[in-house]
């Protein structure tokens, strides 16, 4: 007890949980006496194992729904989340998981077995949060019942010795007890207490919203979990690269990549589409941050349904397009050089934009591959061509870096290419990356000196391939953008849950639940002794003040007799100190209430309600 040292509070909810949720062994033994501990300990830890299967089940349930276990589960929930932030997660970055596997040959299998590459869907982590939520439900239901009972019942009757309560004041007045109680009743009612008068006292209680808020918060947590689960199971998410001028319509085959939750049905893809009209990027032009992006805007036209009306829009990084229950996010952008390749016959063998991938440097150097599968050489023989290209948005040359790009915008665009002929390997049936050239079965074009053929082209320029093999013209540059189309059901529900949780939390933490009793009794001298006492959570210093306010208001109708303003409180406490009943250490008010009042503990709202 002296270890804790700080519970200067008489906490209604602590006693409440002792009754309602059976965790007696946890409850502070009043006054620390061993007898008190025994008498209040519920059966759980001592008798129940003898009760067989049902007993065990009940015992486990009580343990699971006890505050202590909830605490431990919460702790485990945060502890268990740690590895997922330090070890690469397959759901977040599969590439890094692959790297990790390569680098740690012995550790990886162990991690695999422990599910450490997907912590948040692993068996053990799921077990923690499922247990926690079962515990939560097991906690909400009885507390909900308790609250409804309390709301239907009456504020608990006054304990016998009000002087033992955490806040207390008293005075003597000439007014009759009946008048005082009537005034107190009205006063407390005006202050929006729930009041009940019985015998020589008025009982009042206020701040039920605290309990409501607490329940709302915990229920909202369940709503959020459900929303999250629904979102995970029915979500769909796909990526698509769209070149300026091209479009996309929402069908499975149009996606570059696609993933979905286990219960998603691909027939359920909403019919809509959009086209990329253009992409604007601006970059910092001066200063140490030169080259860092400032704005990205994708101008698009979209339509809903098979033949919906077309609308213009702008998609930006933090401003997705919302259409048909889907959201279209802008996730990346780049350049697609437009080239025309003519074959040895002078016919167009390939024409169009080819997306190049940015390399991540500040100059936005991009690389890509142009594959020309239908090509005839000078003699008219069928063959295939492949070009490796490097696109430099702002060409610059220096001794150290050679040709490179010095700025990401299209200030002085140059396309550098190498050329190959031979078998592209795309007919072999093995899937190939469009960004890579398999050069094993190809031969590089050589120039007159025998050096690899290499050309730097400005827009509008073209280059002849050696020996009349054809030509390549760099016509210009288009932009492209990548989009992520995602459909996440139950987002709205999650938001509702979050808002409810917040509201509930505010109620739970800022509203003070407290009880006030007023007793008026005629003393031997014919005067009336008015006593006011309050019980609340002492985390708030406001209770004594509130009590004082009430006392001030009540004194208007029950004026202090004798010397005006003489506080009777000291008398009260002195009288009490003389009282032998208060000498032994039993500071809990329910104890002071005396044996005849056992089942009617004022500090316990449940009991009070039952009475």
């Amino acid at each position: 007890m002296s270890e804790t040292g700080t519970n200067t509070e008489i906490d209604p909810s602590a006693t409440e949980s002792a009754e309602g949720r059976a965790e007696g062994p946890d409850t502070e033994p009043p006054g620390g006496s061993a007898a008190a501990r025994l008498s209040t300990a519920p059966a759980d830890s001592i008798n129940v194992p003898a009760l067989g299967l049902l007993g065990w089940a009940r015992w486990s349930w009580r343990q699971l729904t006890s505050m202590r276990v909830a605490l431990i589960l919460l702790f485990l929930l945060s502890l268990g989340a740690i590895p997922g932030s330090l070890i690469p997660q397959s759901g977040v970055s599969p590439m890094k998981v692959e790297e990790f596997r390569q680098a740690h040959q012995t550790l990886a299998p162990i991690y695999d077995r422990l599910g450490l590459f997907h912590v948040y869907s692993s068996v053990w982590y799921s077990a923690i949060y499922i247990l926690l939520f079962v515990s939560l439900i097991g906690c909400i239901v009885p507390r909900g019942w308790q609250l409804t009972r309390q709301l239907r019942g009456r504020p608990p009757a006054a304990p016998r010795r009000l002087g033992r309560l955490p806040a207390y004041t008293s005075w003597r007045t000439g007014a009759a007890p009946e008048e005082v109680l009537g005034a107190a009743h009205r006063l407390l009612g005006r202050s929006r207490f729930r009041t009940h008068r019985s015998g020589d006292a008025v009982a009042a209680e206020k701040g039920y919203l605290r309990e409501v808020g607490n329940l709302l918060f915990h229920i909202a947590l369940i709503v959020i979990l459900v929303a999250f689960a629904v979102g995970q199971l029915w979500k769909s998410e796909g990526g698509k690269l769209v070149v300026e001028g091209d479009g996309f319509s929402n069908t499975l085959i149009q996606y570059d990549e696609f993933s979905s939750g286990t219960l998603f049905d691909s027939d359920g893809l909403a019919p809509f589409g959009f086209a990329l009209d253009g992409f604007d990027a601006t970059f910092e032009r001066t200063g140490p941050q030169k080259g860092t992006p400032r704005t990205f805007r994708a101008r698009a036209t979209y339509w809903e349904g098979a033949s919906g009306e077309e609308r213009k829009t702008v998609i930006e990084v933090n401003k997705p397009l919302e259409v048909a229950g889907n959201k279209v996010y802008l996730v990346g952008h780049g350049y697609a050089p437009v080239v025309t390749v003519r074959d040895g016959q002078g016919d167009i063998a390939y024409q169009g934009p080819t997306p190049f991938l940015p390399q991540g440097d500040t100059g936005f150097t991009s690389v890509g591959v142009i594959k020309v599968p239908d090509y005839r050489d000078k003699e008219g023989k069928k063959n295939q061509l492949g070009f490796q290209g490097r696109f430099l948005p702002t060409f610059a040359l220096d001794e150290v870096r050679g040709p490179h790009s010095s700025f990401p915008a299209l200030d002085y665009p140059v396309l550098a290419i190498n050329a190959y002929r031979g078998d592209l390997g795309i007919d072999s049936g093995v899937p190939q990356s469009v960004y890579q050239l398999e050069t094993e079965k190809m031969k590089q074009f050589k120039d007159a000196e025998g050096e690899p053929f290499r050309k730097f082209l400005r827009p509008g320029e073209s280059a002849e391939l050696p020996n009349g093999a054809g030509s390549i013209e760099f016509e210009g540059v288009k932009t492209w953008a990548t989009f992520q189309v995602s459909h996440q059901p139950a987002n709205g529900l999650a938001l509702v849950g979050a808002v409810a949780a917040l509201a509930g939390l505010a109620g739970s933490l800022f509203i003070q639940r407290r009880r006030v009793w007023v007793r008026a009794s005629r003393g031997a001298d014919g005067e009336t002794l008015v006593e006011l006492a309050g019980l609340g959570r002492s985390e708030s210093p406001k209770l004594p003040e509130e009590l004082a306010d009430l006392a001030v208001a009540l004194r208007a109708e029950a004026p202090v007799s004798g010397a005006a303003g003489e506080p009777a409180a000291e008398e009260g406490s002195e009288a009490e100190a003389d009282d032998p009943a208060t000498k032994h250490p039993d500071p809990e008010p329910e104890e002071a209430a005396g044996p005849d009042n056992q089942g009617n503990d004022p500090a316990d709202p449940v009991e009070g309600a039952r009475a």
Binding site: T6, N7, A14, Y168, E284, P288, A498
Partner: protein
């Protein structure tokens, strides 16, 4: 365009000068605080021990408090105001608060007041520095770790100054706060310094303003709670030793320092109120972050390291609140949980930004 850029660089320069000046004034405040503590140690306090022995004898005798309506200074109110007897629950020690760092030493009190004045001055300069930085980058001043650090400590000191202005009992926070603010600013200007720049587009959203400002305010105020918790642990041990008269007694230095702090119960309540009051804000921070993530990346929750640590911190504070409501966990155990929770917050800021790479690591 160029003119504007020059003006911005000018502003950035002014901001740096202001931050360095604030550090200088904080240093002076630090010295004044030290003087307060040193001078205060000359005065005989000796009140706690006496109070403890007294309360040992009489059990939990009710404490009488006069509740005043008009917040006047001790006992001068003439309002007819009833006295309300308050009493602690079982097991409380009913130890009065210590007299503060200065004890009853007049010189100590004077340097304490000087320290506070200097702190307020430093805070004003500090705030001006943060403002100038914001003007120079033309956005909120928390786009990188340097700005985050300077703003963070500014808010922490601001909360303390507000507490002082509201005449709350927070003077004991002075020395630890000023010390750590100096540390934080020192780290900011030496390790984290970043030229003023603008944000990459992904960070440019008004949810960023909401999310990050809430994170900063939560963190700064939770920091005050953590300081109180730490001091509570020391003071609680001290009081426990005093109360166990036959056990080992605290050393002279510990006594000299700890007897001047508020009582363990006061510190504990202070920490609880702060943590409980900030918890909803921290919850809102999490929600705002999720909304922002939804707008920026297409999912409101993706187990990114920063998100994970925000979640861990949140759950850790929920743990603490639960512990406070669970018998057998109040007091020291709950205090340890509160410290763990704040450590999680710190790791989320320093650790994740520096050691873990994820979408959030913009520093």
């Amino acid at each position: 365009m160029n003119l504007a850029a020059a003006a911005n660089e000018n502003m950035a320069y002014i901001s740096n000068v202001l931050i360095y000046s604030a550090m200088a004034v904080y240093t002076l405040a630090f010295i004044a605080h030290m003087a307060e503590w040193v001078l205060g140690s000359r005065s005989k306090v000796g009140r706690t021990a006496a109070a403890l022995t007294a309360s040992d004898g009489t059990g939990d005798a009710g404490r009488t408090e006069t509740v005043e309506i008009s917040g006047g200074k001790g006992g001068t109110t003439v309002l007819e105001r009833p006295k309300v007897v308050t009493r602690g629950g079982s097991g409380s020690r009913d130890v009065p608060d210590g007299p503060g760092a200065a004890g009853s030493d007049a010189g100590g009190d004077m340097s304490g007041r000087i320290a506070i004045s200097l702190t307020v001055l430093a805070f004003a300069i500090h705030a001006a520095g943060v403002l100038a930085r914001a003007l120079s980058v033309q956005r909120a001043p928390w786009g990188n770790m340097y700005e985050f650090s300077t703003t963070f400590s500014m808010v922490a000191v601001g909360a303390y100054v507000v507490g002082l202005a509201l005449r709350k009992n927070v003077r004991w926070l002075g020395l630890p706060l000023v010390t750590t603010v100096l540390l934080d600013l020192g780290l900011a200007v030496s390790v984290f310094y970043t030229e003023s720049d603008q944000l990459v587009p992904a960070l440019d959203s008004y949810w960023l303003y909401i999310h990050v400002s809430c994170a900063i305010i939560s963190g700064a105020v939770l920091y005050l709670g953590a300081v109180a918790t730490l001091l509570y642990l020391f003071r609680d041990r001290y009081e426990a030793k005093l109360a166990a008269a036959d056990g080992p007694q605290p050393g002279a230095f510990a006594t000299s320092v700890l007897e001047r702090l508020p009582s363990a119960a006061t510190l504990d309540k202070f920490a609880y109120r702060i943590n409980a009051a900030v918890f909803p804000l921290w919850t809102f921070t999490l929600i705002a972050g999720a909304i922002w993530a939804e707008a920026a990346w297409g999912r409101y929750w993706g187990w990114d390291p920063k998100e994970v640590w925000t979640f861990i911190t949140w759950v850790a504070y929920a743990c603490y609140l639960h512990a406070r409501a669970t018998a057998g966990w109040r007091g020291r155990k709950a205090a340890y949980l509160a410290l763990v929770a704040f450590a999680c917050f710190l790791f989320n800021y320093y650790g994740v930004n520096l050691f873990v790479d994820g979408l959030h690591s913009y520093a």
